[in-house]
Amino acid sequence: MLLEQLSGNLIQGVVLGAVYGMATMGLSLIFGVLKVVNVGHGAFVMVGAFVTLFFFSSLGLNPFIAIPAAFLVGILLGLAFYYAAIKKLLNAPELATLLATFSAGVLLEETVKMIFGSEYRGFNWDVGKVDLIVTALPMSKIFAALGSVAIALLLYVWFKRTRAGSAMRSVVEDSHGARVCGVNVDGVYAMSFALGIGLTVASGVLLTMFIPVGINPYMGGGYTLKAFVIAVLGGLSSPYGAFFGGLVFGLIENTSYTLFAFIPGVEPFSLTRFLSFLILLIILLIRPTGIIKAK
């Protein structure tokens, strides 16, 4: 019984983890290239969720069409935010970019609240279920996981095979070294920030497949926290590391949720969050470079 439930959790965990991983790649990319921690990460995820709501509920379209749209919205938001604030703060103390990304997150939440209101809005994209004996998975979640893997692969190829991708990798490795090679480092900063926000907003589309209670403008906070844990699991500055960190985190979250539920009187949801941060603390103490060796 327990074994069956755990193997079911394993499958659910991998599916959720793939999406978690994709949702953290933008955070890691921005940190890797610009050394900026995007504290407003969750708010950008939330924007993606609302883009999905608009496409699905208002336009009646397949939510997957929202992925490129959300990506584009993210690129534009990222560019605007970069040139309005981040660019000027790159040489300031780190607290400056922390405050800037935090306030950008608040501003986004309040803007979305003004447009859509603050109540929860649920939507259900029902495209059937797959029965896997130990567990049943909605097709929407499977699509989200496949979409995440596809985006992660695209990003991988883009990094390895394109000129812009190698410019970004070189800046991650050594920005001064990149400069003497003739890379326009300031341009790479702008592009990476925009791409990072684009990926984050796009991940909001995929994450909505996992939110049964619906979305609201303040849904992002939890994702910021989870993304930090995942990014640290993956070694912080590597988007691929983040992807595998997401897989690991999805497994931990699902398994611990099941196990905690066996203890009477315990609220598994909160304890899972506690466990996440315990893991984060332990990793930071024993392996600050991340548990996953990803290049």
């Binding site: 190698s166 990798r169 070294g177 400069r179 090679c181 480092v185």
Partner: protein
Amino acid sequence: MLKVENLESGYGAMQVLWQTELEVEKGTITSLLGPNGAGKSTLLSTILGSVRPWGGVIYYENQDITYMPSHKKVGLGIALVPEGKHLFPNMTVYENLMMGAYQKDAYARSRESLDTVYTLFPRLKERSWQMAGLLSGGEQQMVTIGRALMTMPQLMMLDEPSQGLAPKLAGEVFETIEKLKYDIGLTILLVEQNADASLGTADYAYIMHEGKIKASGTSEEIKNSKDIREAFLGI
């Protein structure tokens, strides 16, 4: 080829360069000497554009390039071998070299440039699939110089290329610099702590102290001037 007039720059509120005047003639090795903290590295960084000039003019081939962004200067043929190497440690030697050919013109001719680099440093060809971070200090310095060559420069500025190397390897670096001049036809601006070896290879030399150029002349003149040697070089 390169002419610097009245150049001033610094970091934040701290001024480092004061009315710096310097000229590098085509086809020569010009050596910039002086103690630590004299502003030599800052001068090279300001010429490349990674440090913004506060005033003065930089001419390259009679063109005013004072406020040109550094990636455009690299495109014009100015290369910097930075102090502390600044390699990409998790990329292979080959990938590091190919990053030097990042700009379109350099990429179009990267095959020939790569041949030039491998002829100059046969060791790099053997190590081409190794991660740059795992190489020895001497090999890393070869990659740094090779990577700068891949940008197809006319003028190569080297910042303390023999720093941290054993005497034998340091000697090889100076031999390499002479090859860059005689075999490849580059113009060299060389910053060094090692005054003796540097004056041995250079045609001209400038002495820098506390952000100002204090003396200049042919290497012979500097070498033979007891005053300069005692006041600034301690040799």
